[in-house]
């Protein structure tokens, strides 16, 4: 049973979702059952987190043939890396439910459930075909959510998102097939397990570069890394809050995760060779998106750029080739998911309540809603990396990592933190603190008790992770060391 717990976590939301689809029409029932499902999953993930013993290997592995004639297996498992992200997803989603609680339709909740299956499945898959399967599956509900519940030019937005992500996915698909065939040619049998694919030795240098880029295209679009980011503008602006939350907090992280999970083990030498470029692109993205965020008036778009900016930072950390950078990136994945997720949901509330989306329409929210403002401020500070919050720890680690990688780039990355602080605080001042310049005062409610309860675990995490990072880092440190020592063979710096 203990081995199948992961399957249960993956498929429970989908089964519940399909069950709800055909049985009931009541929105409240659907929402309550869906929420209950996510809390059950949270409990199970907690159990896994406690049972998990820090080590470099996979645990809770299930490996059964799926399409036997092609060596495609239903192969899932969890290691320190995926465990941390699994935990994050399990905590974020139920709280998001609490914040999205009112005024949604049945389809909205069912789509949320389906996304959870896709995301968790992609996270836990160790077979690339299975991974690809979930990778696509998690996109489809979001596609529907944007198209049905979005605003403005939602159809155009949907098509643009789909086209972008599909293009990346299909390139990755070719690369997967190519790897599979290479494995077959070398070993005489089919296999698409990631640990089998790492054994391929027959690929030439050029082939590896092409395959590497094909994989990267899929993940870089999802993250998004500059210059593959152009889809996020419309999307974050026109998509409903839930979809924005899922895209920015969870799916983008899976892009980063997939780089670590599949690309590092399969192409270690290419990864090392090109790491300078990617650190550079990451830092460039950080600055570029940061400056772009400074100039935004639409609050959602500003967060979109801010999110992209932090994700570029994560990407830079991932490619920095040392333990500081990778640990920091992983830590920032969590920190950013919490902070950005909360901020998007809070902005979603502003939008739902007032209908305003631009910063200059807002103002003076602090007076009417002190609790809202406090929580908003906490998340904001976590986002800009104030000491004591998890953002600080992660940014510090990444800056250390990049510094160790290259001193000059390290200095640059340290300075970029200012950009993040400036657009965030400036926005905070204009939208929340200062009184509105035009028109009468805004009518804005404070957070309800349910929403506060939902956000409490996030706030606790922000500080717990910021003040006492060891308890979290200990869980995934062995995995990171394993990656550096055994796969990249460059030695972890302790």
């Amino acid at each position: 049973m203990s081995a199948d717990i992961l399957s249960f976590i993956i498929f429970l939301p989908a089964i519940v979702g399909f069950g709800l689809m055909i049985t009931t029409k009541h929105v409240e029932t659907v929402r309550n059952i869906a929420f209950l499902t996510t809390t059950v999953i949270l409990a199970l993930v907690l159990k896994i987190y406690i049972d998990f013993e820090p080590s470099s290997g996979m645990q809770f592995v299930t490996n059964v043939p799926w399409i036997g004639s092609y060596g495609i297996n239903y192969y899932i498992g969890v290691d320190g890396f995926s465990l941390t992200i699994l935990m994050m997803i399990a905590i974020l989603i139920p709280t998001a439910y609490l914040l999205l609680w009112e005024g949604r339709t049945k389809g909205y909740w069912i789509n949320m459930l389906l996304v959870q299956t896709g995301v968790t499945g992609a996270l836990l898959s160790l077979d690339v075909i299975l991974f690809y399967f979930f990778w696509e599956v998690m996109l489809l509900p979001v596609f529907l959510m944007i198209g049905i519940y979005g605003f403005g030019e939602k159809v155009f937005t949907t098509i643009k998102v789909t086209v972008y992500t599909m293009l990346g996915s299909l390139l990755m698909f070719v690369a997967i097939l190519y790897l599979g065939v290479s494995y077959f040619n070398e070993f005489g049998q089919w296999s698409f397990q990631y640990d089998s694919l790492t054994q391929i030795t027959t690929l030439s240098y050029n082939e590896k570069i092409w395959l590497f880029l094909a994989f990267l295209s899929a993940f870089a679009i999802k993250i998004p890394i500059f210059p593959l980011h152009t889809w996020i503008m419309e999307t974050y602006k026109n998509a409903p809050t839930g979809a924005v939350f899922l895209l920015s907090s969870i799916m983008a992280k899976l892009g980063v995760y997939a780089i670590v999970r599949f690309m590092i083990p399969i192409f270690p030498d290419i990864y090392v060779e090109f790491s300078t470029w990617f650190v550079f692109i990451g830092l460039f993205g950080l600055i570029y998106f940061g400056v772009a965020a400074l100039m935004q008036d639409d609050i959602k778009r500003m967060f979109a750029y801010s999110s992209a900016s932090h994700l570029s930072f994560i990407a830079a950390g991932i490619f920095s080739l040392n333990e500081f950078g990778i640990n920091g990136a992983l830590y920032l994945i969590i920190a950013h998911a919490i902070a950005t997720g909360a901020l998007f949901l809070l902005v979603g509330i502003i939008h739902d309540e007032t209908g305003f989306k631009t910063i200059k329409d807002l103002g003076g929210l602090a007076k009417q809603s002190p609790i809202f403002t406090t929580i908003f401020a906490i998340m904001l500070f976590a986002n800009v990396g104030l000491p004591g919050t998890n953002g600080f720890v992660s940014e510090l680690l990444i800056i250390f990592g990049i510094y160790e990688f290259n001193h000059t780039l390290g200095y640059i990355s340290a300075l970029t933190v200012i950009i993040g602080a400036s657009y965030m605080l400036w926005m905070f001042q204009r939208a929340i603190l200062v009184k509105r310049t035009s028109g009468e005062d805004l009518k804005f409610r404070d957070l309800k008790i349910k929403e506060i309860l939902g956000l409490t675990p996030w706030i606790i995490l922000v500080f717990l992770m910021g003040i006492y990072p060891e308890i979290f880092i200990d869980k995934f440190e062995p995995t990171v060391t394993h990656y550096l020592n055994d796969i990249l063979q460059i030695g972890a710096t302790k």
Partner: protein, 501 residues
């Protein structure tokens, strides 16, 4: 007696076709429903007869003295029987409503449909070029008639005329090819041609190559590959919707059944000769098909045009056979995947228009998901499958074909095919967007529409198979049957039966 078992399904269908023909003389005595019922029962019976020897590997040429080895019955043909009979049966069931609401469908239509099935079944058995020609023409002529059945649509004249003339023209090429092959080998029996190939120095036999190339053209015409794709849009457009479904899926499978047999069993040694031709054909088929599909406004024409693209994928598997025998399985698997998704999607459109008179443009689909969520959901499943989105059988088909193509070394072609797939996401998803993202327009909704009908269930059945065939039951439920592996094994067993000497 055991020999009789094998020819029983064909006999059943033939007798039923003749019987229906006689029945149709008394039009006023039987309703369309009766005809559908009788035909369905016969087809189910035939299907049961097929399943008697199913699963084992065999290859026999029954009643030598009568048939003179022109027909061969093996697991391969049996496998195709299942697809062909199943396809026809589903066509009937899906079209049930459509047939009843169009006055021009009279009793003889069902007789013709069964004659078409008879021809296609014989085609799957043919071991001789002339027999194959006759079988092909029986099927084709039945289809010509069915294409022209829509007496309410003036386009039928253009459709039937185009199809008939071009089809006969290409049929003449086939015959010329047979003549040349006969001139070179003194036989039209495929087994003997195979013997000839293995015993003769082929550089002395240019006629054989020219003849077979002409026959190949017929194949390309019938499956609507470039440059023979010109007829597809107009013919599919003019034909009654449900016949379009039949042509796009079932008829195409029948064509493949014969040519796969010929390629694998008898011409394997010289198949590589056509590689460069087919290579170019694939590239152009994919490019042209995609371009056509993108530019369509009518859903029916889009589906027709996209069927050209799917022909391209099938040919991609086909060309890989020369390098790597395993690709044959992928072609067969893709055929199954396409049969399900194409029948489903065409059938669903015909289901929608069965009571309305809309032309079914993309616009007509606006808001369908709000009015009829289940139909929209099923359509979405079929679109996903056609576009090759994971979790549907269409994805498995593409995975299979592309893997084998890459394995055979056709990487550039595989990438081109993936690009075509990428573009196809656009025109398939556009339909989904129409159904879900817009308010209702109401064109495709009729008042007395109740969804508890045979066609709905048939389509729902297809949708379920499409999904189950994609994820298989290996996940979660671990049910051994209905597994993709089982399906793949079946295709393998059936193709291996071709090599039983």
């Amino acid at each position: 007696m055991s020999q009789f078992i094998h020819i029983l399904p064909v006999i059943t269908v033939l007798i039923a076709a003749v019987a229906l023909m006689f029945m149709s003389m008394y039009t006023d005595k039987f309703s369309v429903k009766t005809y559908i019922g009788v035909s369905s029962i016969v087809l189910v019976a035939a299907l049961i007869f097929v399943f008697i020897p199913f699963g084992e590997s065999f290859s026999i040429k029954p009643y030598n003295s009568v048939f003179n080895n022109v027909l061969i019955f093996d697991t391969f043909s049996n496998f195709f029987y299942v697809l062909l009979i199943g396809g026809t049966l589903l066509t009937l069931l899906i079209g049930e409503h459509y047939f009843q609401h169009r006055d021009y469908f009279k009793g003889e239509f069902f007789s013709i449909l069964l004659f078409a099935l008879f021809g296609m079944m014989i085609l799957a058995n043919a071991n001789e070029l002339i027999t194959a020609y006759i079988a092909l023409e029986i099927a084709s002529f039945s289809v010509y008639i069915m294409v022209g059945y829509n007496s309410e649509d003036s386009r039928r004249v253009e459709a039937i005329f185009k199809y008939l003339v071009l089809g006969s023209f290409i049929g003449a090429f086939y015959l010329l090819g047979v003549v040349l092959v006969y001139g070179a080998t003194q036989t039209t029996n495929l087994t003997e041609i195979s013997n000839f190939i293995s015993t003769t120095n082929l550089s002395d036999a240019p006629l054989l190559y020219i003849g077979l190339t002409l026959i190949l053209f017929t194949f390309l015409f019938k499956i609507s590959a470039f440059p023979f794709q010109q007829w597809v849009l107009d013919v599919y457009r003019g034909a009654p919707m449900i016949i379009t479904a039949f042509m796009a899926s079932t008829f195409k499978i029948a064509i493949f059944s014969f040519f796969l047999r010929a390629m694998l069993q008898d011409l394997q040694a010289i198949v590589n000769f056509w590689d460069s031709i087919i290579y170019v054909v694939i590239v152009l088929t994919l490019v042209f098909g995609t371009w056509l599909a993108v530019s369509q406004k009518l859903v029916k024409r889009m589906l027709a045009a996209s069927s050209i693209v799917h022909t391209g994928y099938l040919l991609l598997g086909f060309i890989a056979i020369g390098q790597n025998m395993d690709a044959a399985y992928s072609v067969v698997f893709y055929l199954i995947a396409y049969l399900l998704s194409a029948l489903g999607s065409f059938g669903l459109v015909s289901h929608i228009i069965s009571e309305t008179k809309v032309r079914v443009t993309y616009d007509d689909f606006k808001g369908l998901a709000h009015e009829r969520p289940f139909l929209a959901a099923m359509m979405t499943v079929f679109m996903f499958s056609l576009a090759g989105i994971p979790s549907t059988i269409g994805f498995m088909g593409k995975f299979y074909v592309f893997t084998e193509a890459i394995h055979a070394g056709y990487i550039a072609l595989a990438i081109l095919a993936i690009i075509a797939t990428f573009v196809s996401v656009y025109y398939y998803f556009k339909l989904i967007a129409m159904m879900y993202f817009y308010p209702t327009k109401g064109e495709c909704v009729s008042n007395d529409f109740n969804d508890k009908r045979v066609s709905t269930y048939a389509i729902a059945f297809l949708a379920i198979i499409t999904v189950v065939g994609g994820i298989g039951s290996a996940i979660v439920f671990f049910i051994p049957v209905l597994n993709i592996d089982t399906l793949i094994n079946l295709t393998q067993v059936s193709i291996q039966s071709l090599f039983i000497k």
